[in-house]
């Protein structure tokens, strides 16, 4: 029952978030700030995760295709598909759930418990829209760039690791990543990350906005934000894959 209660409350909140803003330039400025805070500031962690992910996938693929009958360009192809289809969207989203999710929930939660949200409401500001909309829009706009970054860095990481470990030559790796390339994989990943980031930002905002109590509850809200975002990412990963790839 409590699940339905929360889902209902979540949609009511979204309804307030997506009402028409009255001061466009204020929202515009806030959105730019959020692009910086949630997007640009996540590039570092996404790049680091991706380079190691690409490296490990390449070496694992090499290990799994050790059979001499299989050409080594399959390593590049396998790594490419794994990165494009799954890692640059789903894994990156899970990382972002940790970073952006906890950030948003604790920021909004702190504003709630220190009565800053009440202060906004009393002035007549739609606090839900003012606080949440720029975060959702800023993050959703920037997320595809993070995925593209992850793809490039991940595939490069695979190349470095693969050649350094001596499991594949540069020519074969490059031939592999070009072989039977399907650009739709990229579209599929970009659609997924957009949905995932929308889920992360709205679920985390929901938990932050509905915090009550003190700093302990802010911590709890932040944990719930990460856990629930991750669960919904995995659930929607399944749904979207079924819808988009089958």
């Amino acid at each position: 029952m409590s699940l339905f209660y929360h889902i209902g409350k979540y949609f009511l909140l979204l309804n307030r978030v997506f009402s028409i803003p009255e001061k466009h330039n204020v929202y515009y400025k806030e959105t730019l700030k959020e692009i910086q805070k949630q997007g640009i500031n996540s590039m570092g962690i996404v790049a680091i995760i991706s380079v190691f992910m690409g490296a490990v996938i390449t070496i694992q693929t090499a290990y799994n295709t050790e059979n001499p009958l299989l050409p080594t360009y399959l390593i590049g192809l396998g790594a490419r598909d794994a990165i494009l289809l799954e890692f640059s969207s789903t894994i990156v989203a899970l990382i972002l759930a940790g970073k952006i999710g906890s950030n948003i929930a604790s920021e909004i939660g702190t504003m709630r418990v220190t009565e800053q949200i009440d202060a906004l409401e009393i002035m007549g500001v739609n606090s839900a829209s003012y606080l949440i909309l720029p975060k959702v829009v800023g993050s959703v706009i920037f997320a595809p760039f993070l995925t593209l970054l992850s793809m490039i860095v991940g595939i490069s990481g695979g190349w470095v690791a693969g050649t350094a470990a001596g499991v594949v030559t540069t020519e074969n790796y490059i031939y592999g990543i070009q072989y039977a390339f399907n650009p739709y994989y990229i579209t599929y990943s970009l659609i997924k990350i957009t949905v995932f980031v929308f889920l992360i930002t709205t679920i985390s905002s929901y938990h932050g906005y509905n915090t009550s109590g003190g700093s302990l509850e802010v911590g709890k809200a932040s944990t719930k934000a990460v856990v629930h975002s991750s669960i919904f990412i995995l659930l929607f990963n399944l749904i979207l894959t079924q819808l988009l790839l089958s």
């Binding site: 009565e115 009440d118 202060a119 409401e121 007549g124």
Partner: protein, 253 residues
Amino acid sequence: MIEVKDISKSFENTKVLNEVNVLFEKGKTNLIIGQSGSGKTVLLKSIVGLHQVDKGQIIFDNIVFNELNFKDKKEMRKQIGMLFQGGALFDSSSVEENVRYPLDMFTNLSLSDKQDRVNECLKRVNLINANKFYPAEISGGMQKRVAIARAIALNPKYLFCDEPNSGLDPQTAILIDNLIKEITEEYNMTTIVNTHDMNSVMEIGDKVVFIYKGEKWWEGTKEGIFDTENNELNNFIFASTLSRKIKDLKKGG
């Protein structure tokens, strides 16, 4: 003038306010006093509409505020300034950005006009040269001043203060209290202040309402408060050893 008629408020199963009736007067500082947990904050937040009351009416100068539709309520809110128990300044904005915030959101003034208004408000609360500081970088007393400046930025008709001097030393507390009283008289606002500080009552209490366990137990003026026969109020007033000593001295003399 704000009239509170028969309001009750419960959270889940606990009744916090029970049929409260009060008239808060214009141009005066109206105080709500009572013990911690008696329901002062809930009463104040119910009056301004941050809590939805279960029953009763809240009337702001002939307008039944709690029965307005969403849009009219929003319009009314622009005439309300509020000071929260913890200050509630926006931590990620500087002092001047905090005070400018309502102007940014609700006026179409040019930046220099807004800046002038910000400086005027900050000067009114005796806070100069603090414009660029962040809330975490200034003292509690200064934070309260910034919060007052922000609350009066749009020239409100109604001012609400939830324990404006909690956490301050007695001298600063009196300064803040007097500031609120002066501003109230200057702009002819209807001001309601929550407090549990008897010093505030003596300094600024034009009208005093005593809340006990969510009910209005007593109302009157600061002059009348010491003559009351009301037991709970007497316990509240003479809670400290110091005040009991003074009372005994008075009786003896």
